[in-house]
Amino acid sequence: MIRSATGAPFQHSGNNISSLMLSVAFALLPGIFVSTWFFGFGILINIAVALVFALVAEALVLLLRRKDIAPQLSDGSALLSALLFAIAVPPGSPWWLLAIGIVFAIVVAKHLYGGLGQNPFNPAMCGYAMLLLAYPLEMTGWHVPSEAILGPLAVDGLGVPSAEPAREILNPLSLGAFKQSLLLAFPFAASNPSELGEFIDGLALATPLIEFKMAGQSALLAARESGNSLFARDSETAWELVNIAYLLGGLYLLFKRIISWHIPVAIIATVLGLSALFYSPGGAAVYGTPYLHLFGSATMIGAFFIATDPVSAATTRSGKIYYGIIIGVAIYSIRVWGSYLDSIAFAVLFGNFCAPLLDHYCRPRIFGHPTRTTTNREPAEP
């Protein structure tokens, strides 16, 4: 209860939570668009399914907690979590995978800790990590760029799949591919099993960290040199372009001052630094080039969108830099020496663990105080 509410100040900047969240969602759009261009409608279906389940789950939990539903649903935080989660989970995942993950994220990782502003861990990453541990097979079926969706099995007249299945490779943005994506997401809708298409499962990777294939070269530059179109579907520029799109989105957020530069710059600098330190072209152990680590994987979206989630990140300026460094080290080490395929989720969660400690120790010097006060457990005495 506030006793001395004088009402001042009477003027307000007009900021509100929903406009902040919508701005971040807007900044994700370029990346989503480029993803759709190269990989088809899978990501959009993911987003749709995740959104629906996120909003329903949030509404139900708010009902259980006896809070007002409308203001909280409209603040956009569930929307943003659903978006990031849907982007992280591979396209072509069945609907139930998305549902379990996002419901876990919203209900357990967010509301069970107290709701908006109270969750110590990034909800989208919690959901993703839970799925990775519980359904490893479904989660690691990512598709290789420049290839598309395999159409349905060719069947002969009697409906029996032929011995040597010839499958059509579909243009990702065609209607056929859209139907296939839907069927992949909702397998129960297939009238017979042979209808189910699939993504080409070239190499079982979470994101195509195809250091072997790329071996240090930028596919974009290669495409430039060979005169191919950058945006051709069969070029290998897809992932780089997706990352550049997310980078542009992130720069937009920086420009609008919605996020501060400390976390993204710290993460990118750390990953860059570590990969530069360990990279050896043509060496025995293949660690991947710095360029690969930044643009051939999910580092950009992790640095600008996932790690900067304000609720679970460190809050002070110097704390944010250390937070970024910790996440950068975690990203690199789990990716290179760990057994998981891409490490953004676990790296960010690891950073979330460290955030309260960083908040406690990394406080700025207060105006008029000589140095930062050391923590003193002595109670104030008269």
Binding site: I2, R3, S4, A5, T6, G7, A8, P9, F10, Q11, H12, S13, N15, N16, I17, S19, L20, P71, D75, S77, G115, L116, G117, Q118, S260, P310, V311, A313, T315, T316, R317, D359, R363, P364, R365, I366, F367, G368, H369, P370, T373, T375, N376, P379, A380, E381, P382
Partner: protein, 553 residues
């Protein structure tokens, strides 16, 4: 600019007075253009004035006029003692001629107190003034610092920027430390307030003269006038005034600072101009710097050069509910109703009336409040202007508040500790350094009433401090009581031992005499004789004390 200039300063001893970028701050829309469209106007004399006396206790007043007495303009009405160790007092003068009617508590438009004792003056409309004693220019040049201080005190001048601290006392406290730099604060950074800007625009020479007088009063080496870069007319007027120097010989510099809220806050201004951070629990005079508002400088000019005591001030009247917002030279004690009426108040549109600016102002309970020496601005907010805050949402830990805090605090953590009431953490996070500027509140996307929470916690901490002082006092009393009881006990034991000794002495003496008499040999008769004598003595003593008791009854 800054890094190289700082290096040059340190290495080559160049001027350390330049503009630095300070941390934090916001850029709210200023809304000052409406009240600056016209020049400062004088108000007509209202029928009644309730002159505020800056106190609520009659004991601190010494009245120089009686109720029912006729007074003339500029006449001294009372001396109000400030209650400090030096017995300083501040005089109050009549703003116009008339009859004293009453002395009573009345609502006052002051930033700190909502009610003060006021002298009601019924104006007779003739505005008869007592003769003033202006100083000739030559005489002014010869005035010493102490004499200027006396005139400032006698005119009853306080800090016109809103803090209301008696100027003479502030200067005197500076004398003890040795003031090197006097800064005249013309950076009116808060939205809606344009009183200082209007004053400078029209009376820049007087402000500069007043600044020089203040400089001589506090014997400062340097004099600087700081103004925001958005006030172009005022800057031009000041530059012209500094070049012409008609009134006094001045050595004054004009520094233009970037417009930002809260650039005009004393400590932030000092940091911006000199790079010095005044330590947390100290005042700027300890660092050799004194800051005065330009309205105070102008009032000092009027007091010393024109001999005119402080009976009016420039107040901005603005807000959408007024037809003609403008700056007025307002007589002290005018009611707000009267002033709003002068500006054409649209009563139906009035949603609230606010004293001060939109970020640090206070909502006034009634428009019957009267103007005092610190009333810098009155906002008659129209419908939709200064709306009530929307519902508070959860803190999303975005960190915008820490980005704008001029004191480099972490409002987010402060809020968390305010909610748990953890005063130790609050003090460690610097709650007592919060200047309550409202920048964090302004920028918070969750519309959390941060300033109110901090004010509340400060009150709680204060209460707890007083509780602890009270407990310490009780502990002292308890310990003294224990000491007293112990002393009493010791004393009673000692006195009883004394008494027993004095009663045993004669017996011992007799025994020693008897021993001296009798050569050794114990005789029965002697023993029984002595016993009988002892018994008789005891009886006699008992009888004496009981007769004493009877007498005392």
């Amino acid at each position: 600019m800054s890094v190289y200039r700082q290096l040059a300063t340190r290495l080559l001893g160049h001027d350390s007075l330049f503009v630095r970028r300070t941390f934090g701050g916001i850029h709210p829309p200023a809304f000052k253009q409406h009240s600056l469209r016209s020049r400062i106007m004088d108000t007509p004399i209202p029928a009644q004035l309730h002159i505020p006396l800056n106190t609520t206790q009659r004991e601190s007043l010494s009245m120089l006029v009686a109720i029912g007495e006729r007074v003339r303009k500029y006449q001294k009405l009372a001396e109000v003692s400030l209650g400090d160790d030096h017995g300083t007092s501040l005089p109050v003068h009549a703003p116009t001629s008339g009859v004293m009617r009453a002395l009573a508590l009345a609502p006052v438009a002051d930033h700190e107190s909502s009610e003060q004792l006021c002298l009601t003056l019924e104006a007779d409309g003739r505005d008869e003034a007592i003769a003033l004693r202006p100083e000739a220019n030559a005489a002014i040049e010869r005035l010493s610092g102490a004499e200027i201080q006396v005139r400032i005190r006698d005119a009853g001048i306080l800090g016109m920027g809103g803090a209301g601290f008696p100027t003479a006392v502030k200067i005197e406290s500076g004398n003890g430390f040795g003031v090197e730099l006097l800064i005249i604060n013309c950076a009116e950074c808060e939205p809606y307030i344009s009183a200082d800007e209007a004053l400078i625009r029209e009376r820049a020479e007087h402000v500069v003269a007043g600044a020089e007088l203040l400089r001589r009063a506090c014997s400062a080496r340097r004099l600087v006038i700081a103004i925001e870069d958005s006030k172009n007319d005022a800057i031009a007027a000041l530059r012209q005034a500094l070049e012409s120097e008609t009134v006094l010989e001045t050595r004054c510099e004009l520094i233009v600072i970037p417009a930002k809220y809260p650039a005009g806050s004393e400590r932030q201004l000092i940091e911006c101009l000199t790079g010095v951070e005044v330590p947390s629990a100290e005042y700027p005079t300890g660092s050799g710097i004194l800051v005065q508002n330009c309205g105070t400088a102008h009032a000092s000019y009027e007091a010393v050069v024109l001999g005119r005591p402080c009976i009016s001030r420039i107040t901005t009247l603005c807000g959408e509910a007024l037809l003609t917002p403008k700056n007025f030279e307002v007589l002290l004690g005018s009611s707000i109703d009267f002033l709003f009426g002068l500006c054409g108040l649209k009563q139906a549109d009035l949603s609230r009336s606010v004293l001060g600016g939109s970020l640090m102002g206070r909502e006034l309970a009634s428009t019957e409040s009267v103007v005092c020496k610190t009333t810098n601005c009155l906002i008659a907010a129209g419908r939709g202007e200064l709306p009530a805050a929307p519902a508070e949402q959860a803190c999303i830990r975005c960190g915008f508040c820490a980005d704008v805090c001029p004191a480099r605090l972490l409002p987010q953590q402060l809020l968390a500790h305010c909610k748990t009431g953890d005063s130790i953490e609050l003090i460690e996070h610097g709650l007592l350094d919060c200047i309550e500027c409202g920048a964090c509140d302004y920028i918070c996307p969750s519309h959390i009433p941060l300033v109110s929470a901090f004010k509340d916690s400060k009150l709680s901490i204060d209460e707890r401090q007083r509780d602890r002082q009270r407990s310490k006092y009780w502990q002292n009393r308890f310990q003294f009581r224990q000491y007293r009881i112990k002393k009493d006990k010791e004393q009673s034991l000692a006195s009883r031992a004394e008494a027993r000794k004095s009663s045993l002495e004669p017996i011992e003496q007799a025994a020693s005499e008897a021993a001296a008499d009798g050569a050794g040999g114990f005789s029965k008769e002697q023993a029984s004789r002595e016993i009988a004598a002892a018994v008789a003595r005891v009886k006699a003593r008992r009888g004496a004390s009981s007769s004493d008791k009877d007498e005392s009854k």
